[in-house]
Symmetry: C2
Subunit: 464 residues, 2 copies
Amino acid sequence: MTTAVLSHLSQLRSALRLDADGAAGGLQVLSTDPAELEIVRADKSGHASSAAPIGIVHARSIDDVQATLRVANALGIPVVTRGAGTGLAGGAIAGAGELVLSTLRMNRVLEISVDDELAVVEPGVLNGDLNAQLVPHGLWFAPDPASRAISTIGGNIATNAGGLLCAKYGVTREAVLGLKIVTAAGDLLSLGHRTVKGVTGFDLTALLIGSEGTLGVIVEATVKLRPLPAGPVATIGAYFETVEQAARASAVITASRLKPAIMEILDARALDAIDAYLGLALGGRGAYLLVQFDGLGAPQEADQAVPIIRSLGGDATLSRDPEEGERLFAIRRSFHPAMERQGTVLIEDVSVPRSRLPAMFAAVTDIERRFDVTIATVAHAGDGNLHPNFVFPGSEVPPKVWEAADELFRTCLRLGGTLTGEHGVGLLKRRWLREELGDVQFELQHKIKRLFDPNDILNPGKVF
Amino acid sequence: MTTAVLSHLSQLRSALRLDADGAAGGLQVLSTDPAELEIVRADKSGHASSAAPIGIVHARSIDDVQATLRVANALGIPVVTRGAGTGLAGGAIAGAGELVLSTLRMNRVLEISVDDELAVVEPGVLNGDLNAQLVPHGLWFAPDPASRAISTIGGNIATNAGGLLCAKYGVTREAVLGLKIVTAAGDLLSLGHRTVKGVTGFDLTALLIGSEGTLGVIVEATVKLRPLPAGPVATIGAYFETVEQAARASAVITASRLKPAIMEILDARALDAIDAYLGLALGGRGAYLLVQFDGLGAPQEADQAVPIIRSLGGDATLSRDPEEGERLFAIRRSFHPAMERQGTVLIEDVSVPRSRLPAMFAAVTDIERRFDVTIATVAHAGDGNLHPNFVFPGSEVPPKVWEAADELFRTCLRLGGTLTGEHGVGLLKRRWLREELGDVQFELQHKIKRLFDPNDILNPGKVF
């Protein structure tokens, strides 16, 4: 370690009132353990930084976050805020000279208000843990990234996480009423409201949601809860000869003004992989459409959806039995583990207007052929969000995969879409951001970043 | 007019390619007609500026907006963007030396996409007009300010308008996917997406929503549509002896995980006024609770709500007949016309966490007595948003009304609420804004304003 780094760590220990080992009361707060530093070089994107960061602060409290940022801001130490590290865009990856600020230990549910249908949580609470605590109250925090069992609410908010239920229940932004954040200078700000409505000044809560650690550190969130949907779900699983047919069926379901909670499409290559993984005989099927309705209207809605699916060539099974429904769902749930058995996976995240879903699927097939790459795709069809999964051998992303991804992004923008529906920009999408935003907006966003963080210490090099 | 004003108007005419009368092709684009200028001194808040502005640009297109702002920015002319002028916080009031930029003529619905459940509209489209065009498609733009028949979508967005349906369907922010805005410098920016999901960079769409004309001019909006709720509504009207009882019933309905589309409370003084207006015999009743359920689950939900209401002292009538339901609703709809017959009305707009609704109602009664003022209150009970209506004779707001309003705001903040739920800050709430935001956030918001508008030409003196 250089003298500068040693001095930085020493000042952090002092500001956090730690002993010479970085501990307090037997608890390691500032860690320089090489094994720990190795972990935070990567996230779930498969990407890793080229060197380890200088240390990790395991914040215990808002005070710790403020103290850390005051020192970092004064000394110009770049700070990478990190929850569970489940991100898929490299946003929480830390490299040489950087300090990781982990919020994982700030994991208390501070309040559940049944009357006001809200919860106040620290950022390190896992999405699944909050939901487990809410079940007895008949309540539910709707954002449902596929990682919900292992991802933190702070991370969900920092990336404006999506998931399977967004077409009906919205993204994370719709479920956050207010935030406490610590600014780069170490100030504590309360943004937003405890109320359903509120229009006092600019909506900084929304500005922070999805800002990927570049504007401030989320230290507390007041989140909106919903009543758990009443009654059993109704689930439909349907096979099609082509993925375009499945995409058309999903479009007609939406256009029929039905509102599934979940509507997912798996393409043929995804089914092949699941086939190998589960030992099923799905092979040779062109696509799978999974549709699930919830709430009091579920049976009626499902009864309307089945004839639509069949009229468009789908071989549909409908079940109102939860166990049978879960079996229809299991095919979708097996997608990610099945992919991991195929090789190294780069998960992309393009989003197009729903009506362009068939065109985007066709483009993926075309790109796969032209660039000689393997792409298996799952789509949240209700909201037009596709996850083309590039699969390749070895641990390095081959150049042709990046070239194919580049073509994928440009196609998506041409179709009126966006290059990341729910994973964020992080490190991996930076090079296309300016293209989507345009120069004037890109500069304006950059100026907002500088306004919040004049010394550029908050997750520098990410997003922009 | 001063020489400077004459020169400013001349440069505007030139930039907009108008003749010496401010017209083009027989259409008046830049107007200095005193009668028109008189109208834009006021909005629906009852407040008016002390002098007329210098002129009104009736923008026909985005080009007109850009040309106007370029001139205004270069010359330092303050610009007040205005839709239909139905605001209740003075946000669109224009005074001496200011230029009004009206978007009322930009009133085309540019696109309705049934497949993508979205519409693209110019800012001057009336909320009610868009909804009338959507009915044949079975679609619906959910934001429903009480002014929806006469207010523009641009204005709804600029104030993040609420309404009666927000507890179930959200505020305007939840219904906007993307915006085109013109910046103070005259640049055209496309913010947001046509897609349901999208996390590329900071959410400037949300930042602009509710910014009350201080950050940019909204020239186009891509809004999210919903399927019209299926089936007939189920409506409950219930009288209570006290408003606290009605508030408790509404809280228990929410806590029972029911989700009314509408849940409104009128207090005794409101009922007295409606009594006089409609010639009914409501007098002496303590409060009225109106609850309406929609969607496929409406009958079941209403059947669960009635016993709750009765067990808490409510004299409840349930109807699934639309006409009978409309009669139960008519009492609520008569509130504003009934109030206007009582005298001059100042409509306030505080919002508290739902559970504090009984406490806030009690505080209103107490303030009415202590300050010797008359307050009739209607509340959107599902989201804790109260509109205490101060009534007084004459056209000037008496000092004791302002003192009472001041106490009202402070009480609301103490109860964890916000000083404006849905009307905005405008001119009338400025003096309390810093108190709610705190100094550090207030300064940060002000810096954002300066970043977007360095010459302070966009609605200066409003909000901040």
